[in-house]
Amino acid sequence: MTELHFTDVQRDCLQELVNVAMGQASDKLARYLGTFVHLQVPAIALVEAALLSQHFASRYQQQSATLVSLGFFGDQGLRGETIMLYQLANVGVIAQLLGYSDDAVSEAEMLTDISSVLTTTFLSGLAEQLENSFSYAAPRILSSRDQYFADKLAYTAEQWQLALQVDIRYQLTDYSFNCDMILLIPGEAVLRLRQTLDNILADF
């Protein structure tokens, strides 16, 4: 097992990199949706991947959620998978806003599109700051409107070691749109990430 601990300074550094990357993703999303997106400081948490599904099962209670996954591969062993979790209360409003029709196929297509915009912009912004560059797998839906999504999340998380949870709360002009983003990375990527953070910190 890789030691997953991050120091306070490393954590602050990662939080700031996430903020900058998330700012770029929000800007992209705002342009995509044609509305202003109120950006809050995204709370990050580093947890063992194995504890992840439990956390989200209790946070989402009995509600169903849709999970969209996107794999990414960078240089020097920095790779992983992002998972976007959507609670579906506001999906209809967003579909209307974007001109998707109101059926299950369109909903899946829309969530895949939004995930793609958010995660690739976010990850590109993060990669740039880490002086790395990522390539991406096509987004895929792991679970659609599923009450038992936590089982699928557990199955996916099993392959990884560390999870970086990023709570995203997007407040659009007239309604709120909540989703969660999880970055799952393997042990060797954790070491790589920590080394890169230390290099960045050493510069300042």
Binding site: V9, V20, G23, Q24, V41, I200
Partner: protein, 121 residues
């Protein structure tokens, strides 16, 4: 007497990054604050010529700081340094009296450009 410049950001990395990226010819005493409330108490207590202001911060955000500076007619210039780069946000802070908007991360080039443009160096 040298000018006092305030760097206000909740991130230690961002504060250090900015401090280190300031042009070497910029002759100022640099002080820092880690949120909007702290920044306002400094601005009310002493003379600060220039503020580098982050927007997304806990306690009081950058927009709140700009509103207070405007409401109290404080005599300081504000350069917003933010990750929130949406055009509407840029427009909003400019309307609230910010001098300029710098997109994070604040590199030495970006800072030198904007400070030169407004005659600060």
């Amino acid at each position: 007497m040298a000018l006092t410049a305030l760097i206000c950001d909740d991130s230690l990395l961002a504060r250090n990054q900015l401090k280190k990226s300031l042009p070497s010819v910029f002759d100022a005493d640099i002080i820092t604050a880690s949120n909007g409330v702290e920044a306002l108490s400094i601005l009310r207590a002493r003379e600060v010529g220039l503020v580098f202001l982050d927007l997304t911060m806990p306690e009081l955000d950058g927009v709140g700081v700009l509103e207070a500076i405007k409401a109290d007619a404080m005599d300081c210039l504000v350069i917003v340094v933010s990750a929130d780069i949406q055009p509407e946000m840029q427009k909003r802070v400019m309307e609230l009296g910010a001098l300029a908007f710098v997109q994070k991360p604040a590199t030495a080039d970006k800072l030198a450009d904007v400070m030169h443009k407004y005659g600060l160096i």
